[in-house]
């Protein structure tokens, strides 16, 4: 049985339907990439899993438990951490405080601690007392990922971590993913940068206008298939 499953996941913004019955699964230790055009529903999918949007209880099943109707604070405590789009660090907290608050509410023993996060992203240790708005985009992204790791999640959800960053910085950040994977954390990556995503992912889902248009392993998918999955026929 998969660690996380979505079953016929729906999502609405008022009258607008963003997701039309998404069925996906994530196994322990897997890295899943979610690709698709803007507005395809990728971020919505992550928000629904993370509990920022509530739906029917069994639309999201985690470790056998239906969690679809639980709020974000409860979902986090079960072991699902979201790195939100745009990083969204807390400006009133220093870098270190941002990291600490990630783990304040879930005291689980696990591979990730302040020291381990600092060893993953050394620049954060250098800037530990800085106010987060003074960090560069790439550093902020590292801090946001570190913050999510501090709760020792079983699944790490990453929403567009390459957004607005220079390629060399993106490469730096993606270099950290294998180490995260090595600790046994499952990762779900929503990405615009298909190349990077395909390099690290075990499996890929492609979204198109709120529906799944493609699923498979990166090596087995042709460019044509991806193109069609992305843009339609």
């Amino acid at each position: 049985m998969a660690l996380l499953e979505t079953r016929n996941l729906l999502a609405f913004y008022g009258d607008f339907q963003a997701l039309y019955g998404i069925d996906t699964s994530v196994d322990t230790g897997e890295t899943i990439a979610i690709i698709g055009a803007n507005g395809a529903g990728k971020s919505t999918y992550l928000k629904a899993i993370a509990g920022l949007m509530q739906g029917s209880a069994d639309s999201v099943v985690f470790d056998g438990q239906p969690i679809g109707s639980r709020p974000a604070a409860a979902v986090m405590k079960l072991g699902i951490a979201l790195v939100p789009e745009g990083r969204r660090l807390f400006p009133s907290l220093t870098v270190e405080e941002n990291l600490l608050i990630g783990g304040d509410r879930r005291k689980m023993s696990g591979p990730w601690s302040l020291q381990r996060v600092y060893s993953l992203f050394p620049i954060l240790k250098e800037r530990r007392s800085s106010a987060t708005p003074t960090l560069s985009g790439g550093q902020q992204q590292m801090a946001a990922i570190g913050r999510a790791l501090m709760s020792n999640p079983r699944i790490l959800l990453c929403d567009e971590i390459s957004l607005g960053l220079a390629p060399i910085i993106i490469a730096d950040i993606y270099a950290a993913l294998p180490r995260i994977k090595a600790e046994g954390t499952s990762v779900v990556l929503v990405e615009q940068d298909i190349a990077q995503a395909m390099k690290v992912a075990d499996r890929v889902y492609c979204f198109q206008e709120g529906r799944l248009s493609l699923a498979g392993r990166p090596r087995e998918l042709t460019r044509e298939q991806i193109h069609r999955g992305y843009f339609g026929a």
Partner: protein
């Protein structure tokens, strides 16, 4: 000359009282963007609670205030958790109007229970005790205690905000409600805890209000205005700024009173308006918004 020096000293000491009033208001606004129009009336309510406890239990007001602290913490927690949390959201109107309604209810409820008579917290010799500074100037012990207490409260609040897990939660919630929830923070409880802490500050300010001056059920609104003015003069987002604001307000009032006793309160309001025109963000702003 001594008259002016005396006014200056009294102004600073008065500022301590206003800083206490303001600290509670500042805390609540800082954490949850709520301006509680019933703030002054809650201070008066707390003063009556201390009064009743002192009379019923035969206690000194200081001891009664100590007993009142946990009671008022719980009351604040409950008020926020069960009533005020329902009003928070994007709309500005509900929290404003609900707290306004609360203000009316508190004033009239207290009127029913205690009549419109003026009250005072009696603590014996300490009320009139003073420390002579020479040259005919003396500092009242109670006013001095008020200022020292205000400073202590602000130090403690800063400690809580910047050196505890709870304070981290306060700041994070104030920054970004959604992401705070992603950190597992229970917003309802954080807000309620903040209000509980604010109520303990309210209790302390009520103690000194009652020791320094008479109070009655209708004394609330004026205290709200002083608290608010101290916060704005000092600048949003900083507890020390609130202390400075309180002192500026206190000074404005005592200096105004020196010119003409009838001008005391008006001088305070005018000083506030002047600061608002010249420095809209206050004298020591820290907040990012």
């Amino acid at each position: 000359m001594t008259g002016w020096l005396d006014a200056l000293i009294q102004g600073v000491l008065l500022g301590g009282l206003y800083a206490l009033f303001a600290a509670g208001l500042s805390l609540i606004f800082g954490v949850m963007r709520l301006v509680n129009l019933a703030h002054g009336d809650l201070i008066v309510l707390a003063a009556f609670v201390i009064l009743v406890l002192a009379e019923r239990l035969g206690l000194d007001p200081f001891a009664a205030a100590l007993v009142a602290l946990p009671v008022l913490f719980v009351a604040g927690f409950a008020l926020q958790y069960f009533l005020l949390n329902r009003t928070l959201g994007r709309d500005l109107l509900p929290p404003l109007l609900v707290t306004f309604g609360l203000s009316i209810i508190l004033q009239n409820g207290l009127l029913q229970l205690f009549s419109a008579d003026s009250q005072r917290l009696r603590s014996g010799t300490i009320e009139t005790a003073s420390i002579p500074l020479g040259g005919g100037i003396a500092i009242g012990v109670v006013p001095l205690l008020t200022l020292l207490c205000a400073i202590t409260v602000i130090v403690i609040l800063n400690l809580i905000f910047y050196h505890t897990r709870l304070g981290r939660a306060f700041r994070a919630t104030s920054d970004d409600l959604d992401v705070a929830q992603l950190m597992g923070i229970d917003i309802s409880r954080v807000f309620a805890t903040a209000m509980g802490v604010a109520f303990t500050v309210i209790a302390i300010s009520a103690l000194y209000l009652g020791l320094r001056a008479n109070f009655d059920p209708t004394s609330g609104p004026a205290r709200l205005l002083y608290a608010f003015e101290a916060v704005i003069i000092g600048g949003l987002g900083s507890f020390w700024g609130t202390l400075a604001g309180g002192i500026v307000l206190g000074l404005a009032q005592t200096i105004g009173a020196r010119i003409d006793p009838e001008w005391q309160i008006l001088s305070g309001h005018l000083a506030f308006l002047v600061v608002l025109v010249l420095r809209p963000r206050g004298l020591f702003p820290r907040a990012l918004d």
